[in-house]
Symmetry: C3
Subunit: 427 residues, 3 copies
C-alpha cells in the first residue's frame, strides 16, 4: 500500500464532493458531476438526445428528481431522498398518493441480511416507482396509511457524457473509461472517477507516446453511445482500461480483456507481478463494467478492467455502506500508482529492429561496453543491451525483453535508448 | 456408478445370450451374433468374399468349426470345444490324429500364472492348429497317447459385418464401432456390443443432429474392410467412438483420438470431468481396438475409444475369467449413460454467430433480461446468454462457451436456444 | 558419471599438454595449441590479417609475449609470467619502467575474496598494461620501487583459427565450436577442446549422416570471423553445439538455443532426460560463449551450449584455481558420452512417410509381426513399428515418435529401419 500522499488526500476530497449528488444514466446529477470533474481537468461534454439510436439501443428519456419521501400519518418523513440519493429507485416514475403499508410494500426494497443498510436499485427500462430503505426502518413502520411522493420527471432530454484527451506523440489511443451513473456510492464508482481524473493530470505532465482518452459516461448505455458515435475512432484504440472500485481496502484485481493476451493484459500482469503488491489476475467474463461493451465480439478491443475488490465481491457493494469512509486515500493512491506504472511501461513498449543482426555489434568501440574483459561479474545494463540486441528482430517488444531476461523494464528501456542513440537499433 | 436400471439388466441378458457363440473374424459365429443383435435393432449385414483386396489386406478364408477335443486313451474328452469356445485356437486348421503328449504339447496354450483359467489365442494368418486349456488340466494329463480332433473348415467364403444407421438432421456422421470377433469373452467385447445396441435404440428416440452409424465388425480386418468399401463416406465421418470393455468393474477410460484435440476428445473430457465419476483420460496409442484403423495417418479421423478398464489392463483379459459374471448391469448402464451424455453435448455443440456483435444487444426489451437492475445476484441463465453472445464470433462453439464460462452445457445450450429464438444469433 | 576410461585419461593428458601455453585471441599461443590438437585430428588452419572487416568488427592486431615480470628493488621477480600465463593482463601493451608501488597498484588485479588465487583479466580493445597476481603476493610487497616489464608486441599480424571436418552422407552440417583463446585455464576451455577433439575422432569411425564441422577459434572475434567468412555455408548449418567447461565436477548443463525448440534442443533434452544423469536445462541468454554469435537474430541458428557447471557459476572460474586438477578424466568422459549419444540421436532423427497410410499395413505377411495373436503381452519392437507407421505423416520425426511413445530412441530407429527395409516407409 502506498503511503498517504497528497494525491490520495486530494482524490478522497473529490470523492466527498461528488458523493451527495444523485447521479443516474441521464440527468442533472451527471451534469453536476462533470462540472466538478471539469474543475480538475478540462472536459468536452456531449449531450445526446433521447431517442437517438445507438447500436442495438435507444437513448432513453432523461430522468430528473427534486424530492421523494414516504411520510407517516403524522406527516413525518420516514424515508427521505434528501437524506440519501439511494432512497429512491433509480428512474422512478413520479407518484403522489396515500396508501396503506401493505399496498406500499411491493415498492420497498431492503437488505434483510444487512438491516441497517440501504440498497441501491434502479429500473431504467421498465416504468416503475419505488423506495430503498433499511430493513430496520421498514420494521419500525406501523401498519397504516402513508403518503408517498416521488417528484421526478421522465421526459425527452439528453444523455450526458464527457471526454478528456491527453494528446500523445502518436494518434493511436489508449482509452480509460469510468462510469458516472451511480448515485451516492463511493467505491463504485466515485473512487474510479477520482483516480481517472488524477491519472489524466499525471499523464499530461509530459507528452505521452500514446494519446490517452478519458471517458466519463454512464455505464452500459454511455459506453454504447460513445462506441456508436465513434465508429471510426475505434480503430485508433489500441489499448484500454476500465476503472472502477478503485478505493476499497482489498487487493488490486486486474481482469483481462477478452483476448487475454492483449498488450494491456501483458503489461498489467508484468507490472503487478513485479510489484510487491498482493493482487489477482482474473479471466475475462462478459459481465462487470464497460469492458463488456469494449470487449463485445464485434469490437474485441484490448481493454481490461482494474479494480481493487471486484464487482459485487464485497458486502458493501451497491449499498449505503459503500460510502466515503469505505474508500481510503491510501488505496486510491495505490491504484493510481499502478495505473501510472502500467502506462509508463505501455508507453515505452516499442519494437526495435537490430541494425547489426549478424553476430553481436562491437559495443566497446561505441563506448557502450566495459572495455576491461574477463571479470566474472557482468553488469545489468550490459546484459540489457545484449538482450535488446538479441530480441530486436521485429517480433519482440521491450516487454518481451524484460519478461524473457528477468530484467526490470526500466533497465531494458534505458538499454534500448542507449542502443538507439548509438544507431544500433531503429524503432 | 449408475443404479441398476432396466436397461442394465437388459444389456446383461444380451451378453449372456451372445456368450456361448464361437465368434471369429469370419464364419457362422459372427452371423449368429448379428442375427441376435438384429432382434434389437435393424441391421444391414454385408458379406465380403474371400480374396477381396481391402486396403493393404486381403479378406481371408472363412473359418467354421463344428467340434474339437483332446481325448485320452480311454476316450474321455479332457479338453472339449463344446464346453467353451475358447478351447480351440482361433482359425485352427483341421486335425485328426493320435499322438503322444510330448508331440501334442507345442500345440497347447495355458496360463501358468492363472492355472485355473483358459487363455484365448488365435492364429489368423499362419496355418496352425492348437488348443487352449487350463494349466491345471494340462498338469493332470498323464503321458501317453491322445486323440486330437479339430473339425473345422478353412475355405473360401465371406467376411461378415453389419451396420445400423440412426438418421440425423444432417448427413455428417458419427461412427460408433465395436468388434464382434471374440468368442466367449464377456467384457471384450459382448458388453461393448450390448452398450452399442442400446445406445442406438436411445438415439433413435428423437432425430439426432448427426447421423449415427453403428458398425459391428470383426476387429482390424473388419474395420479395414469397411474403410476400404466406404472411401467416399469417410469424408462424412466427423466424429467417432470405439466401444469395448464396457462392463467391467473398473472406472471409465477415454482414450483420445490421434489428433488429441478432436471435438469428440473435447466432448468426452468435458462430460467426464463434469460428472461425478472417477475416470481416466489417456493419450492415443496406435494399439488397442479399431481406433488403430480410424486413426491411421491417412484417415486421421476424430475417433476415440471408450472403455472401462482398458485393453489388457485387467488380469481376466483374454481368458475364460472374462465371463458374464465379470461384467455387471450397473457398469454397462453407466457406460451407456456417459455415451448418451457425450452425444447429447456433441449433437448440440453448434457454432453461432452473434448478429449484434457491436456492444451488447439490449436483452431487456426482448424479454430476455431481468428488467430490475442493481441487484448483486446475477442469474446463471443471464450469464449464459452474455457468454453465448460474447463468444459467438464464428470461432467458438457452445462447448467452448461452457468450458470458458464454467457453466453447465445444458444451461449454455438453453441460452443459445433463447437467443436464437429472439433472432440475436444464427447457426 | 562414466567410469574412468582410456578416453578420459587421454583427454586429461591433452589438457595437461595445452595448459602451460599462453593463449589469447591472436598470437603464437593459439598456433601452438592448434599444432598440438593437429596431432590428434587433421586441422585446416586459417590466418586472417589484422584489419580485416568481419561483420561489425575488425580483426585486431596480433599480440605476442615473451616475458613479463615485476621485480623488487633487489631484482627478485615477485610476479613472473614464466610461472603462469595468467600473470599478465591479456593483450598488455609493452612496458618497461621502474615505479613506486602506489603508481603500480592501478595496474594490478587480484581477488581479495580468494587471496591465494590469481585472476584472469584481459584488455583486448583498450590499450592497457597490467598484471594479475594473488592478493597474498600483493600484501607481501613492501612499498618501494619496482621494475615492471611486459615484453610483448602488439602489431599487425593475423587472427588464427582452425577447422576439422568429418564428412557425412549429406552436406547439411552440424557445427561444434570451442574457444581456444584462454590461457592457463583448464575447464574453460581446455576440457572443451579435448572433448571436441575426441568427439571428432569418435564420429569419424563411421560416416555420419550429417557433415560435422569442428571449429577451434578464439571466443567472440573468432566466431564472428568464421561467420563473416562463411556467409554461404551458414545456410548448411542445421544444428550446432558450443562446448565449454566440459571437465569440472558439476552436473551437465544444456543451454538451449535462442529458438528454444530447435532440433538440437529437443535432442539434448531427450538424451539428458532419458539418461540417469542429474542435469540442468536452461533457457537461452545472450551471454556465455559463442552461442551468442550463432544465435544472434540475423543467424538464429539451432545452436545450443553444453557445459558442466555453466559459465561463471563456479568460484574457480577465470582464476588460477581452474587448473588441470579441477577437471577430471571421468567428467570429460561423461561429457563426451553425452555428446556421442546426442549426435547418435540427431543423426538418425529422420522423418519418414508411411506409404500405406490408410489403415495399418499387414505386418504379419511381411514377417514383421508375431503371427500368433491374442497374447496380452506386446513386444516393444512391434509397438515401435506401429508408432512409426502411425506418426510417419511427413510431420513427425523419429524423435517425436520416441517422445510420444515413451519408447527408447534406439528401438524406434530399429523399427524404422525394419519398415524401411520392407518398403513400408520412405525417407
Amino acid at each position: 500500500m502506498a503511503p498517504v500522499t497528497g494525491l490520495g488526500a486530494e482524490m478522497h476530497a473529490l470523492v466527498e464532493r461528488l458523493y451527495p449528488l444523485c447521479r443516474s444514466i441521464t440527468g442533472d446529477g451527471v451534469r453536476a458531476t462533470l462540472d466538478i470533474v471539469g474543475e480538475y481537468i478540462p472536459l468536452r461534454v456531449h449531450e445526446v438526445p433521447t431517442g437517438t439510436q445507438v447500436l442495438d439501443w435507444t437513448v432513453p428519456q432523461e430522468w430528473n428528481i427534486r424530492d421523494a419521501y414516504i411520510a407517516d400519518a403524522a406527516g413525518n418523513r420516514v424515508v427521505d431522498f434528501a437524506a440519501s440519493s439511494l432512497h429512491v429507485l433509480g428512474y422512478s416514475v413520479p407518484v403522489s398518493a396515500t396508501m396503506p403499508l401493505d399496498e406500499l410494500r411491493p415498492h420497498l426494497h431492503t437488505l434483510p441480511d444487512h438491516p441497517g443498510w440501504v440498497p441501491y436499485r434502479t429500473s431504467y427500462y421498465r416504468r416503475e416507482w419505488g423506495f430503498c430503505l433499511a430493513q430496520e426502518t421498514l420494521d419500525a413502520m406501523p401498519d397504516g396509511e402513508y403518503e408517498v411522493c416521488v417528484d421526478s420527471t421522465l421526459a425527452d432530454g439528453h444523455l450526458t457524457y464527457a471526454e478528456h484527451v491527453v494528446p500523445g506523440q502518436v494518434t493511436d489511443e489508449v482509452i480509460v473509461s469510468c462510469h458516472v451513473c451511480h448515485p451516492s456510492l463511493a467505491n463504485d464508482n466515485l473512487a474510479g472517477i477520482a483516480v481517472a481524473t488524477y491519472l489524466a493530470r499525471a499523464l499530461a505532465r509530459r507528452t505521452p507516446y500514446y494519446t490517452y482518452r478519458f471517458l466519463f459516461a454512464p455505464g452500459t448505455i454511455g459506453a454504447i453511445t460513445w462506441l456508436a458515435r465513434n465508429a471510426e475512432r475505434v480503430e485508433l484504440i489500441k489499448h484500454g482500461l476500465v476503472l472502477a472500485c478503485a478505493g476499497d481496502p482489498g487487493q488490486l484485481t486486474y481482469k483481462q480483456s477478452r483476448r487475454g493476451d492483449a498488450e494491456i493484459d501483458r503489461v498489467m500482469r508484468h507490472v503487478l507481478a513485479r510489484s510487491e503488491r498482493p493482487h489477482r489476475i482474473t479471466e475475462f467474463t462478459p459481465y462487470g463494467y464497460d469492458e463488456r461493451q469494449f470487449c463485445s465480439p464485434g469490437f474485441n478491443l484490448g481493454v481490461g478492467s482494474l479494480t481493487r475488490t471486484p464487482y459485487a465481491a464485497y458486502p458493501e457493494y451497491h449499498t449505503s455502506a459503500d460510502n466515503p469512509e469505505f474508500v481510503s486515500p491510501e488505496a486510491m493512491a495505490d491504484t493510481l500508482d499502478v495505473c501510472r506504472e502500467a502506462f509508463a511501461v505501455l508507453d515505452r513498449n516499442r519494437r526495435y529492429l537490430n541494425l547489426s543482426p549478424y553476430g553481436e555489434p562491437q559495443l566497446g568501440r561505441r563506448g557502450l561496453y566495459d572495455a576491461l574483459g574477463g571479470r566474472s561479474d557482468t553488469r545489468q545494463a550490459q546484459m540489457a543491451m545484449l538482450w535488446v540486441l538479441n530480441l530486436s528482430d521485429g517480433e519482440h517488444g521491450l516487454l518481451d525483453v524484460a519478461e524473457r531476461s528477468g530484467l526490470p523494464f526500466d533497465t531494458v528501456a534505458a538499454a534500448a535508448a542507449a542502443l538507439h542513440g548509438a544507431g544500433l537499433i531503429k524503432a
